[in-house]
Structure formats: structure tokens, C-alpha cells
């Protein structure tokens, strides 16, 4: 059997695409490791249009329920996409140990936490190195934590840690904090947070668990060590384009280069939408709109052929 369309990804883009594909009666399979995308970890979303305030989980449930109300779409949940290859009918998608044939593909795999890429980071992941502060901040009860990254996501981590940790350090690579002043002020008022700018994280150290982080003072070039129980990495997001980087053109940030009118990638038969693409603004609402554009264009493609 050959599908008209396989959608890869269960975030807002993938779900929106699924709804439109079902309505256009395209023979569609949606493959998702899980639903909701990176926003499920958000405690509160205040700009998801139509909702004054929802949590990430609530948003995921609303979107998923809408998708599942259509019977015309097949869903394979809990499966990671391993490979996409060209085939006679179009493309062969390998996911969760199964193979699926399809005429077209829409890539909406989104992005995930960007890593520091320093020694000790991988070794101590979960053992004091954390990426999801909403999840793991409560484990820092009465402990010292270091947040790497002085942008908004860094300060979200600080705010998640404030009720729990006894001491928090924020390491920022540049000379100023880029976070919105409202967050920086909240952190300052607490009296628990120490701010360190011009700091390049160098190494996470420990035995079984994290005990310290080494960083270079970029002014004095001196390497300093901070004793800590946890390192929360909050330096933004990186696109999940690893499995398609040899298939479609990506830019220097690893984002898939698309035609912004049609969402087409460099390879005929493959479209992409959402945070994995070279859009300027990574927003839930934008990802939804772009995914819809993609499906409408895919539908036009079938009408023409």
C-alpha cells in the first residue's frame, strides 16, 4: 500500500497538517513519537490564539483531540522516524521498526533543546545535567543550581528553580542578559540569584553526579569552578533535522530551507513546516499556519498530477 502523504511529527504543525489532510481526503499516515511538541513543557501559554491561558499539556490535549476526531487519518504514535529514502512510488519511511511507502512527505519534526557540547555534559545527563527545568527543578530542593544561558529560556529555568533551590547562578556568554527585564527583575528581587556574564561553560565535573561546572571568564581568560548540584542548560533549541540532512537542503543552523510560499523543500515530493524550517519566528501559531499551507500545496500537487 502507498500513502498519498506521510506527516512526520506530532507537534502543532504535524497535528494541523493531519487535520487538513483528513479534510482533503488525502490517504495520510501521521507518525509521531509523542504529541504536543516542545511546548508541552510550557507551564503556561498566553499567546495561543483563541485561548487566554493554557498549559502545554492542555494545548496538546486540545490539538490531539481535534486530530483524533477525524477518522480518515491513520496515526502511528510512539514511533521514532529512522530514515526517509527515495523509492519507486516516491519515498520509503522507516519508523518504529516498520516501513511505509508514500508519494509525498511533510517533515514537521520540530526542534529540541540545544546542547552545550562540552565535556561531561552527556555523561551527566539526568545526573545533574538537565534540560527541562519545569520537570526537574523540584529535584533541586535546598540545593545549588547553575543555569547556563541568560536569555528568556534561562530565566524561565531560574523562575522554575526559585521555589526550590537555595542558591542559583546564571552563566551568560555575552556581556548582557538578553531576557525580558520582567524576568530578570523577578530573579534579582529573590536575593538568591547570582549573575555572571562573559562566562563560557567549559566542563561539567563530578563523580556519580554533578558536583561542579567549570567556566572561562572571557575577560580575564581565567578558568573558574562553581560547586553545584545541578546544571540547567537553557541555550535555546536546535532543529531535529539530523535524519534528513542528506536528503533536503539545510542551512548553516541545520534548518530545512523551504520555499516560503509553498513550504516545498529542495527535493520534489517533500515539504516541511514548523520550527524545523528556516522561518524567522518559531511560534506555535506560525507553525500551524505553515503546516496548513504545506498541505494545501500538496493537495494542489495531486490535483495537477
Amino acid at each position: 500500500m502507498v500513502y498519498d502523504l506521510i506527516i512526520l511529527g506530532g507537534g502543532p504543525a504535524g497535528i494541523a497538517a493531519g487535520i487538513y489532510a483528513a479534510r482533503k481526503k488525502l490517504k495520510t499516515l501521521l507518525v509521531a513519537e509523542s504529541f504536543g511538541g516542545q511546548s508541552v513543557v510550557a507551564a503556561q501559554i498566553n499567546n495561543f490564539i483563541g485561548f487566554k491561558s493554557v498549559s502545554g499539556i492542555e494545548m496538546k490535549n486540545i490539538l490531539e483531540e481535534h486530530l483524533r476526531s477525524y477518522e480518515g487519518i491513520e496515526i502511528k504514535e510512539g514511533a521514532r522516524v529512522n530514515e526517509i529514502k527515495k523509492s519507486d512510488s516516491g519515498f520509503l519511511v522507516s519508523a518504529g521498526g516498520e516501513f511505509f511507502e508514500t508519494k509525498t512527505v511533510l517533515i514537521a519534526l520540530g526542534s529540541s533543546y540545544r546542547k552545550l557540547g562540552i565535556p561531561g555534559e552527556k555523561e551527566f545527563e539526568g545526573k545533574g545535567v538537565f534540560y527541562c527545568s519545569t520537570c526537574d527543578a523540584p529535584l533541586m530542593k535546598n540545593k545549588t543550581a547553575v543555569v547556563v544561558g541568560g536569555g528568556n529560556s534561562g530565566f524561565y529555568a531560574v523562575l522554575d528553580l526559585l521555589p526550590h533551590a537555595s542558591k542559583i547562578y546564571v552563566l551568560e556568554y555575552g556581556d548582557v542578559f538578553r531576557a525580558d527585564p520582567i524576568y530578570v527583575d523577578k530573579a534579582k528581587i529573590s536575593g538568591k540569584v547570582e549573575f555572571i556574564t562573559m562566562a563560557a561553560a567549559k566542563e561539567v565535573v563530578g563523580e556519580k553526579f554533578v558536583s561542579a561546572i567549570k567556566y572561562e571568564d572571557r575577560q580575564s581568560k581565567e578558568v573558574k569552578e562553581l560547586k553545584t548540584d545541578g546544571v540547567f542548560v537553557a541555550i535555546g533549541y536546535a532543529p531535529n533535522s539530523g535524519i534528513v540532512k542528506d536528503l533536503v537542503k539545510i542551512n548553516e543552523q541545520g534548518k530545512i530551507i523551504i520555499n516560503h510560499q509553498t513550504q516545498k523543500t529542495s527535493l520534489e515530493g517533500i515539504w516541511a513546516a514548523g520550527d524545523i524550517t528556516d522561518i524567522l519566528y518559531g511560534q506555535i501559531n506560525v507553525a500551524i499556519g505553515d503546516a496548513i499551507k504545506a498541505v494545501l500545496n500538496i493537495n494542489d500537487y495531486f490535483k495537477k498530477s
Partner: protein, 75 residues
Amino acid sequence: MVKIYSTPTCPYCVMAKDYFKKLGVEYQDFDVSIDEKAREELVAKSHQMGVPVIDIDGTIIVGFNRPEIDKALKA
């Protein structure tokens, strides 16, 4: 017996618990943000500190990993 070690704010913990509810699998929930003994158990069992940690009859799963959960439930 299924045990889940979680924090109240962790979305993947909620997703895992919702999944067990959907399957009709009974579970015991330990909030490691307030339960110190449970926090020690979590570390002893999983050799790490992140949540959720799921214990399915002795099989330890870190994170909301559905294929692993399905496998452990079938065993």
C-alpha cells in the same frame, strides 16, 4: 506493580500517568518534590535524578518512553 516517580510540574509525568489511565493500568505515584524517601529510591533505581522514572515490576524506564513501557507491560 507499576510505580511512577514524578514531580507535579513535569508534563511528561502527566503524559505517562494519562497513558496508564488510558490502558487501565493501576499505578502508585510518588511525588519526589516532597517525598525524600521516594527521591532516594528514584536515584537508587535509575542511577540518575531526572523524572519521570517508571518501575514496571522491576524494569526501570527513564522518561516517558512509550515503546519501552509497552514492552515492559507485556513481559
